[in-house]
Amino acid sequence: MADLSSEFVGIKSPNPFWLASAPPTDKEYNVRRAFEAGWGGVVWKTLGEDGPPIVNVNGPRYGAIHGADRRLLGLNNIELITDRPLETNLEEISRVKSDFPDRAVVVSLMVPCEEAAWKAILPRVAETGADGIELNFGCPHGMAERGMGSAVGQVPEYIEMVTRWCKENYDRPVIVKLTPNITDIRRPAMAARNGGADAVSLINTLNSITSVNLDSFAPEPTIDGKGSHGGYCGPAVKPIALSMVSEIARNPQTANLPISGIGGVTTWRDAAEFLALGAGNVQVCTAAMTYGFKVVQELISGLSQWMDEKGHSSVGGLVGRAVANCSDWQHLNLNYVTKARIDQDACIKCGRCYAACEDTSHQAITMSQDRVFEVQDDECVACNMCINTCPVEGCMSMEQLAPGTVDKRTGMRVSAEYGNWTTHPNNPSVQAAE
């Protein structure tokens, strides 16, 4: 039986699945039920400074993108940080942590960009016995307008400064949560590291408008005729999050910085992918909001089954396993030639591959009178679109042409040598160097 126990920046939890800072972690009632359901840890919903609590809108705060069958693919929110009193949250955090000593309890924080504000809240958080803090430099709406959240996360100097304040005034792990609403995720990650962060977590939500009401001509969700952009999360953002995680894991300057992977984790497989790309654990929000706390049971059973099947004995052993295989385009082997293949026995003759190839560009699939679809190797560029559109899993596949065989499309023999763009004869910079 695979060992799912996890240790992230010294914080232990029975599994690598934490709930991200968000409504599911906004109060004791929720967090207790989450722990009872099996979650390994939580990042408590972001706390703000003492004083009158935050107010939220009183109309709809979420919008969603659905796939077929109303499966929720993307979620947008304009919720702010916790709207409950600081003291209440702190009391609840202490109680939950002492009742669940084996679970991770990390407290998310967002206070104004002034040292005094941080110095005021940090000792109070320390008193709760929580395992660490997460700095919310990511929230892209509302709080950002007040100079917090992503307004800090978009300025590396601020990240470094605030992180340093926290490291100086708090003695447990400090995790910096990054916003994806920037152009190069490596910059804020480096700033966090320079400030002394123990880890980064990413991604927070992406600026988004999910839909526009075509009767009122207002963005949705609509508050009294107006809408503002919100933060996007859920399955739709996973590819963006995976890429950003990999960028930080690959960057030599941040390669050893622990990462908590967030963004669209919905099944055990998503979690395993984040781990492989360098995340030490994962955080989940939308899947828990969509399906309830019980999804963690599938995350746990699925990850253990897969680890058992593949002989992976520990979560730690999986972390970063795919990082070395993340490459730049220019280093991909251009002598690796494949062709699409159709298993005629599995084919249900829907013709989707034909439409895709015919209209995508390549015209490499032919269709006979009796709906037999065949790949023409002299046209197939191996783009993969046919396979992506085929509804029958395993019906279509890519077959590698053995070195020495002739690629009918180019008329050239497939070379056994590795050869990439940097050495390709068509590359002007290669010729210039000659």
């Binding site: 069958d69 055990w268 309830g292 999804v295 599938e298 059973s301 699925g302 899993e393 395993g394």
Partner: protein, 442 residues
């Protein structure tokens, strides 16, 4: 000339070997991996899902379906077996249309439930191919006797073994399984599944089966109590109700359960004889199974006669439609008044019924059906229960934990009062009694 459906009287081989083989294959064919993924994708992962409440063993259905959808069918099987160790048989025989699938929210929304039964079969088939998933707890030194190796007894035995107790099962038959082996319709459990499932279940270890040991003949309750720390009775309903009508003792007026059992045990179905005209009396699952299987064996005319209206039939709508689709004629609101014939049955005379002030009464109008064979499916009853036990409505009285009126003796399944007479209910009661016994043995 070979026999055909039109051969008069009772005859074997009315259909060709190929036709018979086709007739007795799986009623619900197994899903392949792709079909299972598509079917699983329809589940909404409902909160406190109604299907789980409807399942007598409370399998976490949304979770196991999500596990199938995410490509981990072995984990799905584990989720099922945690609650129902005979999840494989239940996937085949549960009347899902009146249990989990009936309350599926997609049944409500579209009249088309998630195919829970077939998905359960998909997961359990894969899971069982992977060996036995549970281990015995360290031995407690306690020894429990179980009477009956049907679903109730087997589920109880397995859960007790898991908890570290030694178990001996005493069963009257020469083969274990109870109605899983002798009662369930052939087309629901094909390919020797019942015995294969028992062999897999026994993989837990610590369970000894002793066949040919009937309580009341070979062993007594007192002796079992003396030699064991607790006793569980899962002896089913060994008796059949008799027909009270003139001429009921004529030849070829048979008990439906016996006919079905013969069919289940037949090495060669083409050697089984069936009448050209068959009349089945009863309105439950047993009646449907006897009627349908008579048709599948090649009987020309099969009529199922039930004394009340369709809505009162114990057989589900799906079962009724299954019977109709196999060419069984269903006659309702009629009860047998006499069996006519000269030695053997030739005709059955029925009287129409209606509900009067004092319950069911005859209208006075009668009709006759030609019959070479009559199968009685008018209910089974408890037989051979030890006298010491208090009864309730003709069954062994039990409390919510399955404890009987005698200290140290538990009961569950068909022989115990309460719950529907279904395989899945027997499993639930056997399992829960095992937990109660475990608590009592402390």
């Amino acid at each position: 000339m070979p026999n055909s459906p039109f051969t008069p009287g009772i005859a074997a081989g009315r259909l060709s070997e190929a036709e018979l083989a086709g007739n007795f294959t799986d009623l619900h064919s197994p899903l392949d991996a792709h079909q299972a993924t598509v079917a699983a994708d329809r589940c909404y992962f409902c909160f406190n899902a109604p299907c789980v409440t409807a399942c007598p063993t409370s399998i976490d259905i949304p979770l196991f379906i999500r596990q199938i959808a995410t490509g981990t069918a072995r984990a799905a099987a584990r989720t099922i077996f945690d609650q129902n160790i005979l999840g494989g048989m239940c996937a085949r025989v549960c009347p899902t249309e009146t249990l989990c699938e009936e309350v599926c929210v997609r049944q409500t929304a579209e009249g088309q439930p998630v195919e829970i039964g077939r998905l359960q079969r998909f997961a359990t088939d894969l899971g069982m191919a992977n060996g036995h998933p549970f281990d015995q707890a360290p031995a407690t030194g306690k020894h429990v006797a179980i009477v009956g190796a049907g679903p109730a007894g087997l589920a109880c035995a397995h859960r007790l073994a898991m908890r570290g107790h030694e178990v001996t099962v005493f069963d009257a038959h020469d083969k274990p399984g109870g109605l899983n082996e002798f009662g369930i319709a052939s087309y629901k459990s094909v390919g020797g599944f019942a015995q294969a499932e028992i062999a897999w279940l026994l993989g837990i270890g610590g369970v000894n089966l002793r066949q040919g040991q009937a309580l009341g003949h070979d062993v007594t309750l007192a002796a079992l109590q003396a030699d064991h720390d607790a006793v569980f009775l899962g002896m089913g309903l060994a008796g059949v109700n008799a027909l009270r009508a003139d001429g009921a003792d004529r030849e070829n007026v048979l008990d439906a359960v016996g006919f079905i059992s013969e069919l289940r045990q037949a090495e060669d179905i083409s050697s089984l004889a069936v009448g050209r005209n068959v009349v089945v009396i009863g309105g439950g699952m047993t009646a449907v199974d006897a009627a349908v299987q008579s048709r599948l064996l090649g009987a020309e005319n099969v009529t199922m006669v039930y004394r009340r209206g369709r809505d009162r039939m114990a057989a589900s709508r799906f079962e009724q439609d299954l019977a109709a689709s196999r060419g069984v004629r269903i006659v309702t609101d009629a009860q047998p008044v006499a069996v006519h014939g000269n030695g053997a049955v030739r005709e059955v005379e029925f009287g129409y019924t209606r509900t009067g002030a004092d319950g069911l009464e005859g209208t006075g109008e009668t009709f006759r059906l030609a019959a070479d064979q009559v199968f009685l499916a008018i209910g089974q009853r408890l037989e051979g229960a030890p006298d010491a036990l208090a009864l309730q409505d003709g069954k062994i009285r039990v409390d919510e934990n399955g404890a009987t009126s005698v200290v140290g003796v538990w009961a569950g399944g068909d022989c115990a009062d309460g719950g529907d007479d279904l395989t899945v209910t027997a499993v639930a009661e056997g399992r829960d009694a095992a937990e109660a016994i475990h608590r009592a043995l402390g």
